[in-house]
C-alpha cells in the first residue's frame, strides 16, 4: 500500500468516526463538531486526488473551496445555535427534534 492509499483509507475512517460522533451526540454543538470532522475528511480526499494525478495545485484550490464552505457552515450553524438557545431554552437534541409535541414552542 502506497502512502497515498493509506491516507485515502484514513480519510474514509475519519468520515466513519464523524458519523459515529453524530450518532451519539446528545448536544447540538457536538453535532456541529461531527459535521466539521466529516468536512475535514472530504477535504483530505480532495487533496489526495490532486496529489495522485500530479495536479497538486488544482487539488489544493478545490480544497480551499472546501475549507471556505466548512467555515461558513460552522459560522451559520453557531448563529443558529445561539438563536435556538435563546428561543427554546435548551440545546438537547432529544427535546429539540419533537418541538411541538414536547411543548417547548
Amino acid at each position: 500500500m502506497t502512502s497515498l492509499e493509506v491516507l485515502f483509507v484514513g480519510a474514509w475512517l475519519l468520515l466513519a468516526v464523524g458519523f459515529y460522533v453524530l450518532m451519539l451526540a446528545h448536544d447540538l454543538i457536538r453535532a456541529i463538531i461531527a459535521l466539521q470532522l466529516m468536512m475535514k475528511a472530504a477535504m483530505l480526499v480532495l487533496v489526495v486526488a490532486g496529489v495522485s494525478t500530479g495536479q497538486t495545485a488544482l487539488g489544493q484550490s478545490l480544497a480551499i473551496t472546501a475549507i471556505v464552505v466548512d467555515t461558513i457552515a460552522i459560522v451559520i450553524g453557531l448563529a443558529l445555535v445561539i438563536v435556538i438557545k435563546a428561543r427554546l431554552g435548551t440545546l438537547d437534541l432529544g427535546k429539540i427534534i419533537n418541538v411541538e409535541d414536547r411543548g417547548l414552542l
Binding site: 459515529y20 454543538i29 483530505l44 490532486g50 473551496t65 471556505v68 438537547d92
Partner: protein
Amino acid sequence: MIVVLLILMLFCAVQTIHTSHLLHAVLWLASSSVVTSILLYTVGAHEIAVIELSVGAGLTMVLLVFAITVVGESTQQIDKPHWGYLVMVMVIAIGFIVLTAPELSSQPAPDSQHFTETMWHERALDVVLQIALLFGGALTVLALLMQPVKEEDQVKEREVEEEILSQMSETIARVNATLEEELV
C-alpha cells in the same frame, strides 16, 4: 509515519464524544485539525497545510469557544462509548473502500505548477464565488443575531416606534398651525 499520524488523528476524533465537558471536545477537534495539517504537509500539499492549521486550529476553535461561552455549558450525563457502533461504522467504511478501491500513487507534477497561478488565474471564478459566499454568510449571521427574540424586546420596540410617530405628528400639527397663522 503516516500511519502513526492517522491513528493519532482518529484517536483525537473519537475522543470528542467521550469527554464530559464541551470545551474539552473543542480542544480535541482542534488537535485533530493540527494532526490533519501535519499529514497534509507530509503528503506534499504545503499551502493547504498552512491554511488548514490557521482555520481549523484557530478560527474554528475560537468560534466554538465563543459560542459555548454565550450559550453556556449544561451538565449532562457523559455519553457512554458504544464501541460496537464504532466498529460497525468503520467496517462499513472499509467495505466501501474495498469495493471502490482506486490505484493511487503519487506522480510528479508535470511542469512547475505554481499554486498561486492556478488559484488566481485558472480557478478565478472559484475565488469570486468564495468571496460571495463569505459575504452571504456574514449577512446571514447578522440577520439571525440582530432580531429581538424575546417578546419583551419586541414590545419595547413597538412602544419606541409609537412614541416616535406621535412626536412626529405633534410637530407636524404645530408646523401646520404656525403656517396657517402666518398666512392669515
